[in-house]
């Protein structure tokens, strides 16, 4: 794009402001997680020493954990630790929480990214077709298809998908991220199995990981397709009513140009928010899909930690989810500035 340098310059001027607002949001997030950690009726000392410890052991642990200090000092220590990537130990896995997250988050990232890509690549064309053929049969068919995507529970779809494609037809691999005998064969660099396998030049492993992705990503992608196509359709109908569309038609240009260049050029601006929201919500990890497909992602980790009251893990995962939201927001702000000249002031 020819305008990129000027955009970058425009944004460059605001880097301090952006940094400030991100830092503030993140601080707020940490503040909240810290207080959740204090408010929940789970005694972190008891969790660490077990309920048969003597009062002396208990007291020693309390001091070791810094819980005898005033709250503001505790918060300060908490901040320093978080910035060093120290979220404490997980009781459930006996690993540092950071290490756990480094393992589970890429699994979710992989799934969410492919699902969102499907949602964008299929949902936007569907939405455009629905708007262009409004009220005619292509529109009706697409509406039924996406209504189905909205109303069917995801675990049911996952189970049925596994039953048909894995159980009956045997064209899809079973649950999990990869075949058992490939497990641990590539060094985790990014944590994304497909990418790591590619980096290691292990073509077979990459193919296997991709094959495992197809079914769960399609099912999640179906949901985001339903959502994105519905929103695209309504934004598109809105734009097609505008005067500038009449102008474009008066000029005698081809109808596909009117739709794909003039209308879509405007529709993509509100679509940024839609796609960003749907991506961010997938990045939280979808517990049901991850459970059905035995996908060791963030959603499953967060749920298991919650169920076993593993506070360090819960708070660590919450911070990651919050950080992801902040990041996706930042990205969508940037895209706004690129796509909408009016936002570039």
């Amino acid at each position: 794009m020819k305008t990129t340098p000027s955009i970058m310059a425009g944004i460059g001027l605001k880097i301090p402001a952006i940094f400030f607002s991100v830092a503030l949001t993140f601080l707020g997030l940490l503040f909240i997680t810290f207080f959740i950690g204090r408010v929940v009726p789970i005694d972190p000392v008891l969790a660490a020493v077990g309920d048969r410890a003597t009062p002396e052991v208990y007291e020693r642990m309390r001091i070791e954990l810094g819980l005898h200090l005033p709250l503001y000092q505790q918060f300060w220590i908490y901040l320093l630790k978080v910035f060093q990537g120290d979220f404490g130990m997980s009781v459930l896995t006996a690993n540092p929480v950071l290490k756990d997250i480094q393992r589970v988050f890429p699994a979710t990232l992989e799934l969410a990214t492919v699902a969102t890509a499907i949602g964008v690549l299929v949902g936007i064309p569907f939405g455009i077709i629905g708007a262009v053929f409004r009220g005619r049969w292509p529109d009706h068919i697409l509406r039924v298809v996406s209504l189905f995507g909205y109303s069917v529970p995801v675990f049911w779809l996952g189970l049925v998908g596994l039953l048909i494609f894995y159980g009956r037809l045997d064209i899809a691999p079973g649950p999990g991220r990869i075949e058992v005998f490939y497990e641990g064969m590539v060094d985790p660099v990014t944590g994304l199995l497909v990418v790591d396998a590619l980096l290691a030049g292990e073509w077979d492993i990459c193919k296997n990981a991709l094959a495992h992705l197809v079914l769960p990503a399609s099912i999640l992608g179906y949901f985001s397709t339903a959502y994105i196509s519905r929103m695209t359709r309504s934004f598109m109908l809105d734009q097609l009513e505008q005067e500038y569309i009449t102008t474009a038609r008066v000029k005698g240009i081809a109808e596909w140009r009117v739709i794909c260049i003039h209308a879509l050029g405007n529709v993509r601006i509100p679509l940024i928010t839609v796609v960003a929201l749907s991506y961010a919500s997938l990045l939280e990890g979808s517990v049901l899909t991850e459970t059905v497909f035995a996908w060791p992602g963030l959603g499953m980790y967060l749920t298991q930690s919650l169920l076993s009251a593993d506070m360090n893990a819960v708070l660590g995962a919450t911070i990651v989810v919050g950080g992801v939201f902040i990041g996706v927001n930042l990205l969508s702000d940037l895209l706004y500035k690129i796509f909408d000249p009016r936002a570039r002031m």
């Binding site: 102008t247 038609r249 008066v250 000029k251 240009i253 081809a254 003039h262 796509f339 000249p341």
Partner: protein, 279 residues
């Protein structure tokens, strides 16, 4: 003289929720390469007529006519490809408000170039040169700078000049101007009309000028059609407007404030159902 545009018994209706609105009811007129004004109050069907001539009445609108012929070409039978060769190339339209009629996310230069290249196999650079020349023709001084602006960065008057440049760049045979100046302030209005008048006369094209303003139309056009309720009330020469016979035209005239006429209260426009031909 072969007429440029013949409209005979044009009917446009909109049906929604089992209710039908007849926006245009049996409108007929013929025009050559002249300046034809269409005047009428809001809702009298002026814009709908303009869109019907361009084949741009979208659903739920329904267009019927006995004859809709442009330069020997039957518009009623035109297929999409024919329409594309007519729109922009032979008939163009300037709309009311440049704030809404220019694409907000596309540079104005690119929008003009697009109009130009839609109808001729011109290289990008050639089209760019043409567009710049056209911007100068509508008296935009620093055309190069304006070329790279987005619509929100130009004033209303500038926007409408851009619109005119975009619509005249293909030298159409007929320009429809649908209240091209009502979104602008008075001083800019006259400048803009002068520019448009100049170009239209230079290129010898026909012009349909739609407006509320009877005096403006009278000073600017050769003939005036007075519309009311989707029908033609009267057609008269612009010069003869003061002597117009129809009570509706008289009513419109006397509703206009004037400096000479020291009248404190303007009369309310009288309308009568009886003027409309029942169908």
């Amino acid at each position: 003289m072969e007429p440029l545009l013949t409209v005979e018994n044009l009917q446009v209706s909109f049906t929604s929720h089992h209710r039908t609105v007849d926006a245009v009811r049996g409108l007929s007129f013929t025009m050559g390469r002249e300046k034809l004004g269409i005047v009428g109050e809001s809702g009298s069907g002026k814009s709908v007529t303009a869109r019907a001539i361009l084949g741009l009445v979208g659903s739920p609108g329904k267009v019927e006519a006995e004859k809709l012929v442009f330069d020997g070409q039957d518009l009623l039978a035109a297929d999409p490809a024919t329409w594309r060769s007519i729109r922009g190339r032979r008939i163009a339209m300037v709309m009311q408000d440049p704030k809404f009629s220019l694409n907000p996310v596309m540079k104005v230069g690119a929008q003009i170039v697009e109009a130009c290249r839609a109808h001729s196999k011109m290289s990008r650079t050639q089209a760019r040169e043409e567009a710049l020349a056209m911007l100068r023709a509508v008296q935009i001084r620093n055309a190069e700078r304006v070329f790279h602006l987005y619509p929100h960065q130009v004033s209303g008057g500038m926007g409408q000049r851009i619109m005119i440049a975009m619509m005249l760049i293909t030298s159409p045979d007929l320009l429809i101007a649908d209240e091209p100046t009502s979104a602008l302030d008075v001083t800019v209005q006259l400048q803009l009309l002068a520019i448009m008048d100049d170009l239209v006369s230079q290129q010898g094209m026909g012009l349909i000028f739609i407006s509320h303003d009877l005096h403006l139309v009278a000073s600017f056009c050769d003939r005036v059609i007075i519309m009311y309720g989707g029908q033609v009330m009267e057609v008269c020469d612009a010069a003869e407007l003061q002597n117009a016979g129809h009570p509706y035209t008289q009513g419109l005239l006397s509703c206009m404030p004037s400096i000479d006429r020291k009248q404190q209260v303007l009369p309310v426009l009288q309308r009568q159902e009886a003027w409309l031909n029942k169908m």
